[in-house]
Symmetry: C2
Subunit: 250 residues, 2 copies
Amino acid sequence: MIKISVLGYGNLGRHLAANLSAQEGIQLIQVYSPSQNPEDNQEVALINDLKNLEPADLYFAAVSDDAIGELSLNLPKDCALVHTSGTVNMAVLGNQSKRGVFYPLQTFSKNYPVAFDQIPICLEANNPETLALLDEIALKLSKKVVHLNSQERLELHLGAVLVNNFTNHLYTLSQKHLEQKGLPFELLHPLIIETAKKGMAIGSESAQTGPAKRNDRNTIERHLALINDDRLKEIYNLLSNSIREHTKSK
Amino acid sequence: MIKISVLGYGNLGRHLAANLSAQEGIQLIQVYSPSQNPEDNQEVALINDLKNLEPADLYFAAVSDDAIGELSLNLPKDCALVHTSGTVNMAVLGNQSKRGVFYPLQTFSKNYPVAFDQIPICLEANNPETLALLDEIALKLSKKVVHLNSQERLELHLGAVLVNNFTNHLYTLSQKHLEQKGLPFELLHPLIIETAKKGMAIGSESAQTGPAKRNDRNTIERHLALINDDRLKEIYNLLSNSIREHTKSK
């Protein structure tokens, strides 16, 4: 039985604690959250103070990026500690002799379920034994487990920002624009799903369509004339130019 | 039996001809393509010359936006003609007394199948009889049929460019960046699908995460340092600023 504790109980901490404790062969010992009242949550053994930490085979630091270093300093040197961030270098856990990274590449929101078996989990460790332990745990959660060093993980995280953060923001801008004009954003829902599926099925370069791809200045100008928001105009122009350059350079 | 002909045999023309002719109560009379050899395609009655056009209840002008006006001028004044463009005003079909628009809001690529029943079809006509005919045909293809005038359709098309053209281009930029760094873009596939689904399930504003949303300057600077391409740097900065402004203004 692998004993684990989850330190930090935000979006990712909750999803991790719930999904790890549901696996056979894993026992969730404690969850650490400085702000939450243990009496409000009877489902997990919640502690507010690291002094009450019990022994475990692995500790997950599922706190915000900035808080990982300090948490590391407040934990025993001989515990095995991993953080769960896409961007933080493993070296930040310098206080522990056994350290690593357990980064599930997905977007987590409170109260929105996540199918962990579809999520790539990116692992790193500073010694073979810890890496083997991470492999064993990760493979219980997901079919897709990869080993990446801290630099590769940061590159991948940048790629994720482009396809998640920025794409999601474009949904918001589109919805805001249509609402201003009294049109239902829901009409675009099938297109949104199809765009994601098709980009993966035939490759996004083959899937690219639209006025910028065709260099259709007339439509581009008519679109720009509809946009009231200067920032959105700027985004429309920049992405259209980028598509056009990309099309020309092929 | 409703008799139709499809004029133009590009991506949309092909999908339309195939899907309309498969519906009960619809008969595909002819397909017009000036460039294609009729002997190369025995599946449809293909003509190269509009002189050979036979009578039909409705003609679909599925040609490029710029070519719609000229096609209209080359067709009889008394035929019922619709175009299929998201951006072109119905008035461009001024030569026909019965005119309209039949705009399926989806992205079409050659050799990639489309499930028409999930596609919103946006209709417009200059008289009630033609609109009723368009309703009857559209409802055979899709459960989601709406009436929009030319101005509303253009606004919707702009919204579609944001969630499809620009989003798809971000996939391309992300893939290109990861390939430069020797990392497999496929690791981001689950995130791409989840982003689309979650944005619709809980709303993209609630679903927004990432360094720009948290105003995490440290991560933003480290990402920027990884990017070699100036255009991508510009896009990263602009979209991050837009997310930050949007977060502050809420």
